[in-house]
Symmetry: C2
Subunit: 353 residues, 2 copies
């Protein structure tokens, strides 16, 4: 059992709504996790550094430890089935808890397993990637992918608590950290412009003393939105800024492009659409982000390649697809966009990326 690091300052964010919970952000949290359940199942990916697994194991003494494939390889109904079988074989009862420790894909899977096992047991989220921290861990969206598209299956199942231990970011490849920065930057665009400069600053790196506060502020944007709108009846859709194209890019490249990279590209398309629809020109911001993020290059793509995937977006209704656009910084709205504008903006986007 590793020596327990002392807890530093812990920042807290309260998520409200019908089922409120707390997000704690700080350093050295993993070794101090505590849950009021006799039986705990710990779900984590095979590539998680062993030191983090051991810290959580020592803190929680799980009845069962379930290893899943890393990233989106774990977000399938087939992996879900094997996880659920392991929970059943461990005889986990309704008063037990599932703890998801890993990136956003793992916490999405673990949350859906908690939501559906025995029709719902307690869930705790311990994100270990920047993307998982500022996006997946808060808001209660859980689920898996289908061959037909991402996140087409799932449940709204808020965690009982979220622990964001920034120490886990130190072992991430820099590209993975920058991947997650896309969601923090997005929160800047749609709600808290102070984040734009801070995310692109030299302070936004693992180990920097300012990092916990920037992450906490990025989480606070999402916490505010989902407090007001858990099940995406209205405002919550704004969190999908950049995501309509992003999901299509992920699908068409078979996840060769990561989610955060796809969001980086997608935000620039959404900014172009916003400008073409008469909003303020914010494309310098989305260009600056792409310059910072350095995403993998995309293969040659046409509008026709991507449109079928965009048309299946969850924000679509029987009337067609809706995009999240910006009138200005922190002024998002939802709109149906005429096809000629979709195509014109796409042409510019293809040129610029």
């Amino acid at each position: 059992m590793p020596a327990t690091e002392p807890l530093g300052q812990v920042l807290t964010i309260e998520v409200g709504g019908a089922l409120p919970y707390r997000v704690e952000v700080g350093s050295g949290l993993l070794a101090h996790l505590e849950v009021p359940h006799k039986q705990v199942a710990l779900i984590y990916p095979s590539d998680l550094p062993n030191q983090f697994v051991e810290q959580v194991r020592a803190a929680l003494s799980p009845a069962v430890m379930i290893v899943v494939p890393p990233r989106d390889a774990c977000k399938t109904l087939s992996v879900l089935e094997s996880v659920l079988s392991e929970l059943a074989q461990a005889n986990l009862t309704r008063d037990s808890a599932v703890v998801g420790l890993g990136g956003g894909a793992v916490t999405d899977l673990a949350g859906f397993a908690a939501a559906s096992y025995l029709r719902g047991v307690a869930y705790y989220s311990v994100p270990t990637t920047l993307l998982g921290m500022v996006d997946a861990a808060v808001g209660g969206k859980t689920g898996v992918n289908l061959p037909e598209g991402k996140n087409l299956v799932g449940a709204f199942w808020p965690p009982k608590q979220v622990w964001v231990d920034v120490d886990t970011l130190a072992t991430l490849p820099p590209a993975t950290f920058r991947e997650g920065a896309a969601e923090a930057y997005k929160h800047g665009l749609i709600a808290d412009p102070s984040l734009l400069e801070r995310v692109l600053s030299p302070e936004f790196v693992p180990g920097h003393a300012s990092l916990p506060q920037i992450i906490a502020d990025a989480i606070a944007v999402k916490a505010g939105v989902v407090t007001r709108d858990l099940t995406e009846q209205g405002e919550r859709a704004y969190l999908n800024f950049g995501h309509t194209l992003a999901h299509a890019l992920e699908a068409v490249t078979h996840q060769a492009i990561t989610h955060g990279e796809a969001v980086g590209y997608g935000m620039h398309y959404a900014a172009l659409l916003s400008r073409e629809m008469g909003g303020k020109d914010l494309t310098d911001d989305t260009r600056a982000f792409l310059k910072y993020q350095k995403p993998q290059p995309l293969p040659p793509l046409t509008f026709e390649d991507l449109w079928p995937y965009m048309a299946r977006d969850k924000k679509a209704d029987a009337e067609g697809v809706r995009f999240v656009l910006l009138c200005d910084l922190a002024q998002p709205y939802l709109a149906r966009v005429p096809e000629d504008i979709l195509r014109r903006a796409f042409g510019i986007w293809v040129e610029e990326i």
Copy 2:
């Protein structure tokens, strides 16, 4: 398109709670179904008589018709996955509806597909078996089985409306009708003793003028319970009278024993346990029901064969298994039963069945 039968008298039961809905019971309902959604997916089993499928097709004009295997063969994550893929391929959006038409297994599967597709779309239930009508269709429990046990995966996802068309019962094999009678009889034991005599009377057969009222009264028992306790924090557990042994019998016989037959057997064990724990002797009632139901005989079984399955019951917690028992008619309670009493009652039960 078949000629539309006129609607006879329609009995209605209101189910309350946070998401209230109405159950309509009557004759000729199928041809009059109506839902306020542009896109409808109809899910039904391969053995459903074509006349019912056609009536519903004509009434609802579904965008997609999804055929699933009959009975519990459809309650797997693998069938769920193919259903979800068909919903995605039909481009069903969040404002669409899933309609489940069939027995309790099919409506359980269809309800879970509705609960999890795009994290939840509207669900409508059209049960066509007695079991599906008096039990599965009301209360919002949806889900599938795991190899480790029945109903270990699912969601609480109440329907928007339930239509109980008693005409569908006319085509059921008599044994299947009597199978479903177990849940109606159980509602008599735990809450409405008037049902005991009526369920065993010659009036309780397909086509009899009294049938809709008896079914409606049996549904009303469940509707009352789930209105007060949707997620099984308390009273709702009483609906599981007889089910702890029943689920074990189904599992150990690999579903050779049907659910209703297992509940018939399980109610008698629960009545024996209740008596041994000091309650009124109601075993004449549960014996009378078995005599009426004529379930398939059971293979030779020991307590050790069944106990591992009973121990995994969803009413178990970290302290162990709890049984629903009766002090008297309509006076259920939840209790942990000492092992010597579990074994003694089991010995009597094995002798008597």
